[in-house]
Amino acid sequence: MDVKTESAAYVTTVHLAGELDHHNAGPLRARVDEVIRMKRPKKLVLDFSGISFMDSSGIGFVMGRYKQMQSIGGELTVSGASPRMEKVMRLAGLERLPIWKTHGEEKNQ
């Protein structure tokens, strides 16, 4: 499990890597929430391109960070999620939230 953070202007990007299950969600959550607390970014991007596996624990993880960002008046975006991750997130209706930036959309832009 690996987390790299990079900030530019008012955007902070957190690059997540590894398998996002219940076991790994704990430490990841602690790291990302610390970034939110310290930087209070206007916009937080969770980069999923290094995530090789995700189950419903990942849905809880994204929803939790979404609420954190809402509570400080910021925005959350998810980028780089594979079609596989999307399949899981779609079950939660997450594609209906304005956080979703898929591979497909990036290519079409």
């Binding site: 299950d21 219940h22 959550r29 419903s56 899981v88 079950l91």
Partner: protein, 146 residues
């Protein structure tokens, strides 16, 4: 029909074993030469079932999780995940999307994931005795080398 191969695995309800359970099921089902997506579906469903044992069944303790996988000639895979934990008082309600007793970080979608990624799913549970989740999936048989 009789299973052509079967494995049984018992492991403790430590969260590090979520990844182990996924790897074990992948390695075993590889014999059927599944497509990447089929294997990913199975891994995800197993991850959900095992995580539920760890998070809910043995919430404040450590107990044993029993996993059983059967393979059939026609590509059918049966996965059973069983615990001797707290049990579920109302299975129908527990299976409703978004229902959770797990608090903030849980989405209540584990059973929905299992249902949509597998062909069938059954839950049997007795309060105080434990829970068994049985799931089936047909792996499309592709060209076999044997």
């Amino acid at each position: 029909m009789k299973a052509m191969n079967e494995m049984r695995l018992t492991f403790t309800s430590r969260s590090a074993n979520e990844g182990f359970a996924r790897s074990a099921v992948s390695a075993f089902v590889a014999q059927l030469d599944p497509a990447v997506d089929e294997l990913a579906d199975l891994r995800t469903a197993v991850s959900e079932a095992v995580t539920n044992c760890i998070v809910h069944a043995y919430r404040d303790t450590i107990g044993d999780i029993y996993m059983n996988v059967q393979l059939f000639e026609n590509g059918r895979v049966i996965v059973r995940v069983r615990d001797r934990g707290c049990g579920i008082p109302d299975v129908k309600k527990a299976m409703e999307p978004l229902f959770t007793t797990g608090g903030e970080e849980r989405s209540g979608l584990g059973f929905s994931v299992m249902e949509s990624f597998m062909d069938t799913m059954r839950v049997r549970s007795t309060v105080g005795k434990g829970t068994t989740v049985t799931m089936e999936k047909y792996i499309r048989l592709r060209r076999r080398h044997d």
